[in-house]
Amino acid sequence: MASQKRIAKELADCTTHAPAGMSIALATDSDVHKWHVTLDGPAESIYSGGKFGLVVTLPPEYPFKAPVVTFATRIYHPNVTNDNVGSICLGLLKAENWKPASKLLSVLQAVRLLLVEPQPDDPLESRIADEYRRDRAEFDKNARAYVQRYAKGPVKFDGTNVGADAGAAGGSGKRSTG
């Protein structure tokens, strides 16, 4: 009903005015509630050269509830959980901040911007955030290593190219609720 039409419009919007380096497709043709977005690491960031898969899941109550955006490809980033879930901490998508009038295009742009400019003050992985703040060189090295390891080659959205060594990261214990 309502959401179908809106989602169709959002999809058209996003595909015609896609942010740089993004391509959007439906996970399955029959279901408009799950999108697969391929994002080329922005050239101005340390993630350049990598190809990241994003899964955008729209809840049935969309647009009244916020969409869920996760990284299908593992990424070394203070605002993305370093596991095979790949949750993103994005202010726009928090339940208390979500507005039904927000557009998915702006969500995707925000995700891209997050790669260019991590937000260590509002982290999901506090260890990576600390590293980002204190030892940028080490962070850059680790991030590039993750890109080399996970973000090369064709993007897979089924989670097979993530989580090869889930323990490498700090683990969920250090995760803040940012």
Binding site: M1, A2, S3, Q4, K5, R6, K9, E10, P59, P60, E61, P63, F64, K65, A66, V68, T81, V85, S87, I88, C89, K94, A95, E96, K99, P100, A101, L124, T177
Partner: protein, 550 residues
């Protein structure tokens, strides 16, 4: 990652419920009946074959009834979203559910305004920022001036009582108001009927009526009471029974719903095609007749100009080529066709003209009749001045009532008009009479008073004369008395009288002698003094008047 919990906080349940009721009465109820009332004319309901025909009742039924849709309904052709809305389930059902009449049977599926197809591209500014479709029953927020569909805004408000755009806190009672201008603008948008198979396009405000009353394709509840499914109105005849029972296809072994049989033949069924005997193409069996009559290229047909003399008769594809060449009879054929068209138009115009003339004649007849009646009535009232009794009551005017009953007047209105005109003429006559009477009265009054006035003036003058005489006499008396007191000094009265008659400038003594003489003289002598017209004056008195004549 924070969990996506539904923020239910901040919406007091009672307040929300009251809004929903309020909303239902402000937005839905008032929007829908408005649409109805704006229609110029609603003809009688089409004969709907449903067992419970959708009377206007359900249309105008209180919207609370469709807010309370309980039984979920399913219709194969209509994409009812399977959104199991945990939040705002009431509003959800309000748009997916159905209207219901009192018996609980719902005649038609409600229109989902967000799914409507618009004939032309709708301006982006008329789209709700939440559902991204043209507003339906728009509401504007008072503090920030943002507009949303009522349904979208209410649902968003249910989650969090703030504006969905700038997060300004909003209060349902205070901060929402209907956006009438936008609503009117939206009502004029042209939309396609949402029923499958119906190509009707109309203004959005008229859609509800078309859809709920006239559209033959509107999904209505299956006439079978035990069946919960929807079926197009044209198929919902009680004698057809429930078309949702599965029957085996007559060509293949598949079980197919009766309602979907045609579609099955067209799309799925493989065993129903047969080869055309003439053109080798395979055609759906029950469309064969149609194929032979219209499509089959091998069937022998006549040239389309055969009426005008072309005798060509060949398989269809040959004839088509022949017609394209073109057929030599085409020119004359076209001419003849044009003439036929013209003749049709002319005859139609003739019919209209005669109808118009008839109407004109009737109107003129009525006019003359009315004039005649008026004149007759005017004559009646002039001849016999009606008594001053207001006969407003029908029973009080036996003449008019009789004429009405006798059929000289066609209708109660005419009768009342005649009555009214009669009253008017009566009033006019009365007014004239009153004027006459008025004039008469004033004339009579004037005549009477004039005589009286004259008499009064005469009397007044007489009184004045009498008064003067009295004073004159009294003066004479006073003077003679004074002379008597000084009697020795004065000479004989007769000599003094003689001397005084010499001129007007007589002295006091002279006049004194006169008055003396007058006093001495008897009464009849006084008359002599009057008639003698002697100017007798007394300078000391200052009165230079003669005694007036009577």
């Amino acid at each position: 990652m924070p969990p996506l919990n539904a923020p239910e906080e901040g919406v007091p349940a009672a307040g929300l419920a009251s809004w929903q009721q309020d909303n239902s009465s402000t937005s839905y109820a008032s929007y829908a009946p408005n649409m109805l009332s704006e229609l110029p004319e609603l003809g009688p309901l089409p004969e709907t074959p449903t067992s419970s025909p959708p009377a206007p009742g359900p249309l105008l039924s209180p919207p609370a009834s469709f807010m309370r849709t309980t039984r979920p309904r399913r219709f194969s052709n209509i994409s009812i979203s399977s959104v199991a809305a945990t939040v705002g389930s009431e509003t959800q059902s309000a748009c997916v559910g159905s209207t219901r009449d009192l018996t609980g049977r719902s005649p038609v599926l409600l229109i989902n305004y967000q799914e409507l197809q618009y004939e032309s591209e709708v301006d982006k500014s008329l789209e709700c920022p939440i559902c991204r479709t043209p507003f339906h029953a728009p509401i504007t927020t008072k503090p920030c001036g943002h507009t949303f569909c009522s349904e979208c805004l209410l649902r968003a408000h249910q989650l969090r009582p703030v504006c969905p755009i700038d997060r300004r806190p909003l209060d349902v009672e205070r901060d929402f108001c209907k956006a009438r201008v936008i609503h009117d603008q939206l009502d004029r948008l042209r939309v396609k009927c949402p029923s499958q198979g119906c190509g009707h396009v109309c203004a959005r405000e008229l859609l509800a009526v078309h859809y709920e009353r006239y559209c033959e394709y509107t999904p209505v509840l299956c006439p079978d009471n035990s069946c919960d499914l929807w079926i197009a109105r044209q198929d919902a005849a009680p004698d057809k029974g429930c078309l949702h029972k599965y029957t085996p296809c007559q060509y293949c072994s598949k079980q197919v719903m009766k309602a979907g049989l045609e579609e099955h033949y067209d799309r799925e069924c493989s065993g129903n095609t047969v080869k055309c005997a003439q053109c080798d193409s395979s055609v759906v069996q029950h469309r064969m007749e149609n194929h032979v009559a219209n499509d089959c290229p091998s069937t022998v047909v006549l040239c389309k100009w055969n009426k005008y003399g072309c005798g060509k008769s060949a398989p269809r594809h040959d004839v088509q080529a022949h017609e394209k060449k073109p057929c030599i009879y085409q020119a004359i054929g076209r001419l003849a066709q044009d003439r036929e068209d013209d003749r049709l138009i002319i005859s139609e115009l003739k019919v209209r003209l005669s109808a118009a003339e008839g109407r004109l004649r009737v109107a003129e007849q009525e006019k003359t009749e009315r004039r005649e009646r008026k004149r007759r009535q005017a004559g009646n009232t002039n001849n016999t001045m009606p008594p001053f009794v207001p006969d407003l009551n029908l029973s009080n005017s036996p003449r008019a009532a009789a004429s009405y009953n006798n059929g000289t007047l066609d209708s109660p209105e005419d009768y009342m008009l005649a009555q009214f005109e009669r009253m008017e003429t009566q009033m006019e006559d009365l007014r004239k009479n009153i004027h006459e009477l008025d004039g008469l009265h004033s004339m009579r009054l004037l005549n009477d008073t004039m005589r009286l006035n004259e008499q009064i003036a005469e009397l007044g003058s007489k009184v004045g004369v009498i008064g003067m005489h009295t004073t004159w006499l009294m003066n004479v008396q006073r003077q003679s008395r004074g002379q008597q007191r000084a009697g020795g000094v004065v000479g004989s009265p007769l000599s003094s009288l003689a001397s005084s008659s010499g001129g007007p400038g007589t002295t006091n003594s002279a006049t004194g002698s006169v008055t003396n003489a007058a006093r001495n003289a008897p009464d009849n002598e006084g008359g002599r003094y009057y008639n003698s017209s002697l100017p007798l004056r007394r300078n000391s008195d200052g009165r230079g008047e003669n005694p007036p004549r009577l």
